[in-house]
């Protein structure tokens, strides 16, 4: 340690740089702690059972309909996006030849999709699903919009997971007489399941927290919604509450629920992913 101090005496800039990086880390971490801490402290006292009442009224802005809608949204959009994304990744990793031009096109488009801001998805969903296909403001329009939005996330994580399966597994399977399809479903998919799952969970987190893409595709009506009805998810619920300015306490309680679920999902995703890397070794 004293050696270190001696070097710092002759090289003060090194010391300054070192301290600067430490300040930056402390700032970054404390911002996280501050946001989570503030939301929890501010919101938990208002987290009353009445906020989970069966129906939404202007006197009691219950979040239960929004929560139910959110789960519906999760299920429908993942039911669309997960098979599409996983199959796409299977094609990219197992079927496409390396350096194939089409593969490069797909990679370019998935990168483009992941860069598009959610409000542009919202605009597109409004033009395409709501108006052009005439599905009106509905859960289905919202779910389709979100499915496109999370597609690149699922494709990428599935691709990584499939690539991490050693080629000798595949060769062994072929050598024992299994076909390509059988090899994929029996040999390649099982060990990559946790990687795929972590991608799907991350996608759930994004769907759960999404607002801008949903306001003008799924709408903001605070009722239990069928597939063809307009309904608000929890994050839109929170936006409406804080936007009106009358229900700030309820909004902060909603923020706690939102934050808790999203952090839980993200934690779960990295836990599952870590299990993958352990299993791989």
């Amino acid at each position: 340690m004293s050696d270190r101090m001696k070097t710092y005496k002759t090289h003060p800039m090194s010391l300054v740089f070192n301290i600067l990086t430490k300040i930056a880390v402390v700032l970054t971490i404390s911002v996280f702690v501050l946001i989570v801490g503030y939301v929890v402290i501010k919101g938990v006292p208002y987290l009353k059972p009445s906020l989970f009442a069966k129906t939404y009224t202007t006197e009691n802005v219950s979040m239960l309909p929004a929560i139910v809608n959110t789960f519906e949204m999760l299920l429908v959009s993942l039911a669309i996006a997960a098979p599409l994304g996983i199959f796409c990744a299977i094609y990219l990793v197992e079927y496409a030849k390396k350096g194939n031009k089409f593969v490069r096109v797909i990679r370019l488009t998935t990168e483009t999709l992941s860069g598009i801001p959610s409000i542009v998805y919202g605009l597109f969903g409004n033009m395409f699903f709501v108006l052009a296909l005439n599905w009106k403001l509905s859960m289905l329009s919202g779910a389709c919009t979100l499915a496109i939005m999370v597609l690149p996330l699922i494709i990428r994580s599935t691709e990584e997971a499939l690539k991490s399966v050693d080629d000798s597994f595949r060769e062994g399977s072929y050598g024992l007489g299994a076909g390509k399809l059988r090899t994929i479903f029996v040999i390649v998919l099982p060990p990559s399941i946790s990687g795929i799952l972590s991608g799907v969970i991350l996608a759930m987190g994004r769907i759960f927290g999404e607002t801008a893409a949903l306001i003008y595709t799924a709408g903001t009506i605070a009722k239990y919604a069928g597939l063809t009805d307009s309904g608000r998810t929890l994050s839109i619920h929170m936006y409406s509450l804080s936007n009106e300015g009358l229900y700030m306490n309820e909004a902060s309680a909603t923020a706690v629920v939102l934050l808790a679920v999203v952090l839980l999902l993200n934690g779960l995703a990295s836990l599952v992913a870590r299990k993958l890397s352990k299993g791989g070794n």
Partner: protein, 306 residues
């Protein structure tokens, strides 16, 4: 593929029908996988077609110059005027502010995490940084509205809904993008670079700052480009704290409206040309994002070759 065909040739004589049907299934599934792979391509094409087909005629009708450089946005006036210049400037100001706040903090954090951080501490510090990326933008907006806006109001006066507030919140929101990607870029630099610098007499910090950091610059640049994309496209957090007035901000404390904000705020009641003008706003945003994507691809491809 070669083992595959050899095996099917061997057993084909014994059970021809079963093999044929499974062969058919193989082909069908391959076609299905291929079709699913086409979906993302189709999605990008359809999104582009719809955005440009609806937005460009509106821009042409308003006049490219009037639309892009008009400083008056009053769609409800008669005659209405649709100039989005204040929003373009607003988006650029806020993004620049976010970069000025987020990039230095993010890069210094990344350097610490990648090179100075003890392994045990790394395990504890990295998850919260990654979790910052998971917090929904609406929660950031809420935090900005109830915490940052009052602080700015008390410190500097005004309403508190300002370029500065937006920049702070966006700066926080891009931190995880910058830190995450830069840490992997810094860690990918071969240790021999660092060792060589230290052997030549550089201090630990000097070796990292002058040798390792420049070696990782394309990955770091990519992270910054990605962060710019996130900042310019962010919507919900911004509209809650920006004030959203349609004038060009002249100071850090002026209210501002971004391109994204313009769309969300007015979509609910827009009709006719007004609606199309909002799509046009989306097109401008979309073009910004496509250009950023292009830069991103150029930077990352160069890295692959080098």
């Amino acid at each position: 593929m070669t083992e595959n065909t050899a095996v099917s040739a061997n057993t084909a004589a014994q059970k021809p029908t079963a093999k044929q049907s499974s062969h058919l299934l193989e082909k069908a599934m391959k076609a299905l996988f291929f079709l699913c792979a086409c979906v993302s391509v189709a999605a990008v094409i359809v999104i582009c077609i719809f955005m440009f087909a609806k937005g460009c005629p509106a821009i042409a009708k308003i006049g490219v110059g009037n639309f892009l450089f008009g400083t008056d946005w009053s769609p409800r006036n008669v005659p209405a005027s649709y100039g989005i210049f204040p929003m373009i400037v607003g988006s650029l100001y806020c993004t620049a502010g976010a970069i000025m706040i987020g990039v230095p903090i993010g890069l210094l954090t990344a350097i610490f995490m990648a090179k100075f951080c003890p392994k045990k501490l790394f395990k504890w510090l990295m998850p919260p940084i990654n979790l910052l990326a998971g917090i929904p933008s609406i929660v950031y907006g809420f935090f900005g509205m109830v915490v940052v806006v009052p602080i700015i109001r008390n410190l500097f006066g005004g309403t508190g809904n300002s370029v500065l507030t937006v920049s702070i919140i966006l700066g926080i929101m891009i931190l995880p993008t910058i830190v995450g990607m830069s840490v992997s870029a810094l860690k990918a630099v071969p240790d021999s670079y660092y060792e060589g610098a230290v052997a030549l007499g550089a201090t630990h910090e000097r070796a990292v700052a002058t040798v390792v950091f420049p070696a990782a610059k394309s990955g770091i640049l990519a992270s910054v480009i990605l962060a710019v994309g996130r900042a310019i496209g962010e919507t919900m957090a911004v509209i809650m704290i920006a004030g959203n007035s349609t004038i060009i901000p002249h100071s850090l404390l002026d209210s501002v409206r971004t391109l994204t904000g313009n769309i969300v705020i007015e979509m609910s009641y827009a009709e006719g040309l007004h609606y199309d003008a909002l799509i046009g706003t989306g097109v401008v945003l979309f073009v910004f994002i496509l250009l950023l994507n292009l830069c991103f691809n150029l930077v990352t491809n160069r890295k692959d070759k080098g």
